[in-house]
């Protein structure tokens, strides 16, 4: 399986954004193709979430262009954006107890007129996705009482019901335990393979990029820092010990282990932090 380089779903050209006088990023150029995982890496506070917000149209770019499915507009309408990208938030504030079904139906918003509400076909869609995930028993449960792992799966389901070619995730596995982290990653890998979904994700864990590469999914890594975004190719090319030292100021060991019948598996093992002064930034 390969990404489809001819089909660029999201493109940012010469993009810049600042909060008032504080610049967040400038001259960002990136292309995200159908069927790939676009992995945005960067230290805390480098502006990953802001970049994602700009993609989602929550913030308007100061300069530059954002093309969605080849369409370039000064500002894409929320409805238009929501038919291209579904967003799985990093942190979700729960205010009212809705049932899981009611929550999933929110994914149908871009297809529902302002006076209407979800109908039978929408409910059927929600039921199908719940079945697909083997979580039908959650349907009438109060979503505020789900565990962190279940909540994240429900959010992914909501994104799927939005029926978009792209799913955008901010820290998809923060607050999850070891097993649930793997469940979420496995689910995502399966969706990418079976439904040719494109995944845009901001993460603190470079190993996530390797996870998808190990699973045979095309992955592109981009480093964000110093107000710029640097597309750096596949994890094997981008996530080298040298780059990690330059970028995160840490000493690491990139290990390759060959599992019988499964091919090589790559992982990064962090060793120790390095002094910031001795090394430059990329």
């Amino acid at each position: 399986m390969a990404a489809d380089p001819d089909q660029t779903l999201i493109e940012m050209k010469n993009a810049a954004f600042s909060f008032g006088r504080i610049p967040v990023f400038r001259q960002v150029n990136l292309k995200i193709a159908r069927g790939e995982v676009f992995c945005l890496l960067g230290p805390n506070g480098c502006g990953k979430t802001t970049l994602i917000d700009c993609m989602l149209g929550i913030h308007k770019l100061d300069t530059g262009r954002l093309c969605l499915m080849g369409q370039s507009r000064p500002r894409h309408s929320p409805k238009e954006t929501a038919r291209v990208m579904a967003y799985v938030p990093q942190k979700h504030d729960r205010h009212f107890s809705f049932s899981v079904l009611d929550l999933l139906l929110l994914g149908r918003t871009p297809y529902i007129a302002f006076y209407a509400s979800p109908g039978k076909p929408d409910i059927e869609k929600a039921k199908k996705i719940l079945e697909l995930f083997g979580l039908s028993h959650l349907m009438h449960r109060d979503y505020t009482r789900l565990s962190g792992g279940e909540t994240q799966l429900v959010m992914i389901m909501r994104a799927l019901i939005q029926e978009t070619p792209v799913i955008v995730m901010d820290e998809p596995t923060s607050h999850l335990d070891f097993r649930h982290e793997l469940i979420v990653l496995e689910t995502l890998a399966r969706l990418i393979r079976e439904r040719r979904i494109t995944l845009v994700m901001a993460t603190h864990f470079p190993n996530h990029a390797f996870y998808f590469e190990n699973a045979g999914i095309p992955v592109n890594v981009a480093f964000m820092g110093n107000q710029s975004v640097k597309p750096s190719g596949t994890p094997s090319r981008a996530l080298t010990q040298e780059n990690l030292a330059r970028f995160y100021h840490i000493e690491t060991l990139v290990m390759t282990h060959t599992l019988p019948g499964k091919g090589p598996i790559k992982q990064i093992i962090p060793i120790k932090t390095l002094d910031r002064k001795t090394k430059g930034t990329p």
Binding site: I58, P78, K79, D93, F98, L106, V168
Partner: protein
């Protein structure tokens, strides 16, 4: 609570007929006795065009009926706006008076009572100042160059307290024998001034606002996810928020200008609805309207019955709503919302 949910359709229907049943019963309640025979006579008289006992006619058609209609409209409007604001601001402690509508309307009424000593001017001034208060909230929000819900909430607190202070100022300046009691009674709320032409004029904003909220009710679920998520789900957050605020403001200002400040309905009735039907605004918004209508009809009946000089509604809504709310809290153990 599970039992409530399982029979959701049943509860929905029950809530819808509740104000009708209560309203019908209320015709018979009050100091002047009205019997079923009187109603039959009234219907017969209307059918045949013959006259009937004018006192009976007057009590039923000009005293009881307008109060019941007004009670239903006011209660429903306050409850539905409160439910909408709670969803919109993602805060269960918010009520229909959130953005200063009630304080603004109260000030307008007090001003009218002092400047002109006729009730006629109370309605337009109170309605106008109610709207003005919400506009000021928006203006305060704009000062911070942010359209976030929190600046609106803060604006509401500021505007509300300014108008409360102005009301106190007017009370201080008012003639203590004549104007002051009028202001105080108006602020405590009453349906006793119900007349058809007032009901009709104030009914337009109340119905329009409530209907608007019923139309966009499902979108409150989307907005309850927070601005970022609502936007990413494809909702134009600002446009929807403004539409909902305009509707809720029209409904509340319409209610307050004819009935005075009736507290508690816009805060607690939506919660009663949440406990019975759940938080899904698709069901909650209509149910809140029905329950608000039923609640206020009931409270007004009690106010008519317990004393010869009708007790102001604002007092009764709190005295009755409080214990009932405690009962519901106990039954549901604070769950499900």
């Amino acid at each position: 609570m599970r039992s409530f949910r399982r029979h959701r359709t049943l509860w929905y229907g029950l809530m819808a007929v509740l104000p009708l049943v209560l309203g019908a019963c209320s015709v018979f309640l009050g100091r002047y006795p009205v019997s079923v025979r009187d109603i039959v006579e009234l219907a017969a008289a209307a059918w045949t065009g013959q006259g009937m006992d004018p006192t009976h006619f007057s009590v039923i058609v000009h005293v009881r009926l307008p109060r019941i209609i007004l009670g239903a409209l006011v209660g429903g409007s306050l409850a539905v706006s409160g439910a909408a604001f709670q969803g919109l601001f993602r805060n269960p402690l918010v009520s229909s008076g959130m953005l200063g509508v009630s304080s603004g309307a109260g000030f307008g009424a007090a001003l009218a009572l002092i400047l002109f000593d006729r009730y006629m001017y109370v309605y337009p001034l109170s309605f106008g100042f109610g709207l003005l208060a919400v506009l000021l909230c928006f203006f305060i929000g704009r000062l911070t160059a942010s359209t976030q819900a929190i600046t609106l909430v803060l604006g509401g607190v500021i505007v509300g307290s300014i108008f409360s202070a102005l009301i106190s100022l007017l009370k201080y300046l008012a003639d203590p024998y004549d104007e002051l009691p009028a202001i105080v009674f108006w602020l405590m709320g009453s349906l006793s001034r119900a007349e058809y032409d007032h009901i009709f004029t104030a009914g337009i904003p109340m119905m329009a606002g409530s209907l608007g909220l019923v139309i966009v009710r499902w979108r409150l679920n989307v907005l309850a996810m927070g601005d970022r998520e609502a936007h990413s789900l494809g909702l134009n957050v600002n446009a929807n928020r403004i539409f909902i605020i305009v509707c809720a403001t029209l409904a509340t200002a319409g209610a307050v200008c004819v009935s005075g400040v009736i507290g508690w309905v816009g805060l607690v009735v939506p919660h009663m609805g949440r406990m019975i039907i759940g938080n899904d605004n698709k069901a909650l918004i209509p149910v809140a309207f029905f329950m608000g209508a039923a609640f206020l009809i009931l409270v007004d009946d009690i106010s008519r019955l317990i004393s010869t000089s009708e007790m102001p509604l604002g007092i009764l809504t709190s005295l009755l709503g409080g214990p009932f709310f405690i009962y519901l809290l106990r039954r549901t153990r604070g769950r499900e919302w």
